[in-house]
């Protein structure tokens, strides 16, 4: 004889299993999930490597680590005309282990001598699988740090934003009248404002750290367009017979709002949350890229440094300074988006194939 609790637990388990099965059927959702899990893994990996001592903090810390990389270079003088015996084209000189004497400053080396130069930024090697940046910091470690930043920022701002928009949207739907009008006008206003320029302005007045940014993004997002969508969903729920039933029974408005309307709006809100994470991460990278954020390390910052120090325009010679960070932003935001798509198929039966 199963007790009620057992039956309830079993039913919950079955429901979760069914939802999971539905999610699994969505190829896009699964791809997105794998991507997100991969980055989550990176997030956890870094502290583990430090704690277990596999990585020496002095060398591998993404902000203050330093790795010496020296290499011997042969000093040569590049000829004016090509081809020559040694070089076929102009771009062959200097070669990988050579340095042109004309680019040397403050050095009394002569052609034919070998000098030892600091090779930062160093290309990927066994010690540093993604190389180091111009300050000798390990790029892979920076990617992992950036992953932590992205997740924290993304989830914080998404939760805040969704929390605000759900409450406001439901209140607007429920009370109607002036409150509704006001909230809709407010939403329209926020929608009109372009987010990025607004962030620029804010960063001019205040020093933005990561969690400041999260709050700002969350608030702006929360007060914006999603209020309207949540309101429309809440309106649909409001006219359902079970809400009428609760009203006839004598339930108070607050009671109905919290126990009937909100739980049925929640799935949509969850969906929004996932999508707004992508916006948050993307916004951060743009702001960092423009040097407007006060953070120690993030993917946007990595690209910012690469640009400021002139490495972006060197073509693919310093690819490890740009590609990992750029691809990380792209993939993680894409991953969250795909998870959102997968979730959409779970919540929205009409999208399913059958």
């Amino acid at each position: 004889m199963k007790s009620q609790k057992d039956i309830a637990k079993e039913i919950r388990r079955k429901a979760i299993k069914k939802n999971w099965q539905l999610f699994r059927r969505s190829k896009l959702g699964m791809i997105g999930l794998y991507i997100v899990i991969f980055f989550l893994f990176l997030t956890i990996l870094q502290p583990i490597l430090f704690i277990t001592g596999v990585w020496n903090k002095g060398v591998y810390d993404p902000v203050v680590g330093y790795s010496e990389q020296f290499q011997e270079f042969l000093v040569v003088e590049c000829p004016k005309e090509y081809p020559t015996d040694k070089y076929d084209e102009r771009s062959d000189c200097p070669g990988r282990t050579e340095v042109n004497i004309r680019t040397l400053f403050y050095s009394d080396a002569e052609v034919g001598e070998t000098i030892i130069q600091n090779l930062q930024p160093a290309p990927p090697s066994r010690k540093h699988i993604l190389g180091t940046d111009s300050l000798g910091r390990d790029v892979f470690s920076q990617i992992m740090e950036g992953s932590q930043v992205a997740f924290v920022l993304g989830l914080l701002s998404a939760t805040l934003g969704v929390g605000i928009s759900t409450i406001l949207g439901t209140i607007a739907a429920f009370f109607g009248g002036r409150i509704d009008s006001y909230l809709m006008r407010q939403s329209d206003l926020i929608l009109m404002l372009p987010t990025l320029p607004l962030l620029f302005i804010i960063s001019a007045f205040a020093e933005l750290k990561i969690w400041h940014l999260a709050v700002v993004l969350g608030t702006i997002g929360g007060l914006g367009g999603s209020v309207i969508t949540i309101k429309s969903q809440a309106l649909q729920v409001k006219v359902k017979p079970f809400v009428d039933s609760a009203r006839i029974t004598g339930g108070s408005r607050m009671n109905i709002l919290f126990s009937h309307v909100l739980p049925n709006v929640a799935p949509l809100a969850l969906l929004f949350m996932v999508f707004s994470v992508t916006g948050a991460i993307a916004s951060e990278s743009v702001l960092s890229f423009l040097g407007l954020l006060n953070i120690d390390m993030s993917w946007g910052l990595m690209i910012y440094l690469a640009q400021v120090e002139g490495f972006i325009f060197s073509g693919m010679k310093f690819w490890w300074l740009i590609l990992p960070a750029g691809l990380s932003v792209t993939f993680l935001t894409g991953g969250f988006y795909l998870v959102g798509r997968g979730l959409d198929e779970v919540f929205n039966p009409r999208l399913r194939d059958r």
Binding site: K2, Q4, I7, S245, N264
Partner: protein
Amino acid sequence: MSNTLIEVKNLEKYFEVSGGLFSRNKTIVKAVDGISFNIPFGSSLGLVGQSGCGKTTTARALSLLDPKTGGEVNFYNKESESMQSIDELEGEELKKFRRNIQMIFQDPYESLNPRWNIKDIILEPLNIHNIGDLKDREDAVYEILKTVGLTPPENYMPRYPHELSGGQRQRVSIARTLIMKPKFVVCDEPTSMLDVSIRISIMDLMLNLAKDLEVSYLYITHDLAVARYMCDQIAVMFNGKIVEIAKTEDLLNNPIHPYTKRLISSIPIPDPSYNREQYEVNFEELDSIIANNSESKAMIEVSEDHFVATHDVKGLL
């Protein structure tokens, strides 16, 4: 005086519809345009009519969902032993009064909150009105589940609506409705979305519970045959007004109003050998009854408890 539970006099529900973006004109839609009837204790009235006639609006007004715009609705007050207008109720009194009226909806799929389990759905009225302690409430849910035929109750209480069939869901709705032992239940076509083979079981359940608990029904339907099965009296509604109201068999055997006659004659009969006669709309009989009645009232009593409306439907039929 009598055992009248609810008294409706000239109930009106008008809607204002604005004439569009650039128009100042507001049209008034008279969804319910002055209807009157009485329902005794433990008796049921069927409200029959085609879509748009105003029966659902009436249901919503009587269950206090949407406020009426005119007319009187009087309810029997046990304490004062007299009829009391619902307009006088507000606040706490109104909330207490709501225990007496409930409604069962048409759509079994939308009338239960998909996020609540069955136990909580049926518990809700008890929680709202703070009846008894937790144990009492759970026992009451258990008992009512047995009464509506969802046994064993333990199997149903933790389940969610989407796991139940349409018929089972309507039973849950009935359980939730009747757990407060209301005196008056408005039923808005509760079986029209169910399979034919289980309709009777739901209707029989409602009839039995009505007898045991002395509940009166206002039974809304477009199907006269169902109204005949469920109701003691039937009111035929058209265009916001009642055109005829009488005891069930009286209405079916002796319809007076042309609209009623037309309605009855349009219903297909489940017997291939039955020859159904089509009714050609004929107003003469009605006109002569109106002429013979000196008082100009909205409804004329043609025989005991049998009323016919006199308002003009000629243009509409």
